[in-house]
Symmetry: C3
């Protein structure tokens, strides 16, 4: 594989936080964003805004929750995390259209892009100042 193939493949397989934010704002119905991080729920309570939470280890049994007609965007923790790559390979093998969000939630937060806090949803009173 030469350098041009390398860059073209990376650009086909991944999408940056900036590009995803712009694309999803323009055409929100075209994308299905998935948080595929594994591990204890409390350490991953903050997710990217509007992400569906389907851990990579649950993909097999929850495949019916994933739309075949949208572009699936998967993310995990960081640029050195392989969980999103595993999820992407699994879904691509089954005919889904998939891209990995580069840098995971770490890059997204570094950009100060919008997040959701599931712990706040589960325990809203924790955030109540009254």
């Amino acid at each position: 594989m030469n350098a041009l193939d390398y860059f073209n493949t990376r650009l086909e397989a991944t999408i940056s936080p900036m590009d995803y934010l712009r694309c999803a704002e323009a055409n929100p119905e075209e994308y299905f964003l998935m948080d595929v991080r594994n591990g204890p729920e409390h350490v991953r309570s903050v997710t990217i805004k509007d992400a569906a939470v389907i851990p990579q280890q649950e993909l097999q049994e929850r495949l019916h929750e994933i739309p075949k007609d949208k572009e699936i965007i998967v993310y995990c923790w960081d640029v050195w995390c392989n969980t999103a790559a595993k999820a992407a390979a699994f879904l691509l093998e089954r005919g889904y259209k998939v891209k990995e969000l580069t840098g995971g939630i770490s890059a997204w937060k570094e950009m100060n892009f919008p997040v959701s806090d599931f712990s706040a949803k589960i325990h809203p009173s924790d955030r109540c100042g009254c």
Copy 2:
């Protein structure tokens, strides 16, 4: 593609901050360093020292500024930024020799390697202590 091809292609398509600094110091005339970040100028006023500033979105119309006989080194923000990959693919398709600087300006600054501050050039009095 096997693992060996993977590493060889990465090494062909990219150059690390340490390797670039060493190569450019030894043979400065062989390289043309390009900052291809898009977006508002004020957020990208600090660039890598001696970089030509040609945003990826202006590449088409500014192609004549890029030498064909040098190795073009492109960079953007960070390891999860795809802008340099887009610029690299665009230039490789047109016959340029191109490598991506891994980690972008973020890794470069983390290494405390030399930078230029264009805002300082534009408003030199800002830096004057008198």
Copy 3:
């Protein structure tokens, strides 16, 4: 190369800190972890726990120290460092089984995974409180 090949190759060529920690705890005798960073020893005195220290520039003459029957895990500084990729390519060409630890020692430390401090081994009195 398509997106599926891209992810499968990445997963074949690399291992994340979390995956390596889990695999090495389950089957420690299957892995040989190698710190291949170059440069002055004092800046790389902290290594990943139980790593063999064989700088990439010394690989040729120290090849006999590397077991052929284990999976070699190489790491360098960070996700944008190419030294581990160079070491991996060198060893794969010679028939070793090799993976790169994603994110290098930087990601490992960010996860608070166990490290060794060789400077402490060399100068144990520095750590003595008596």
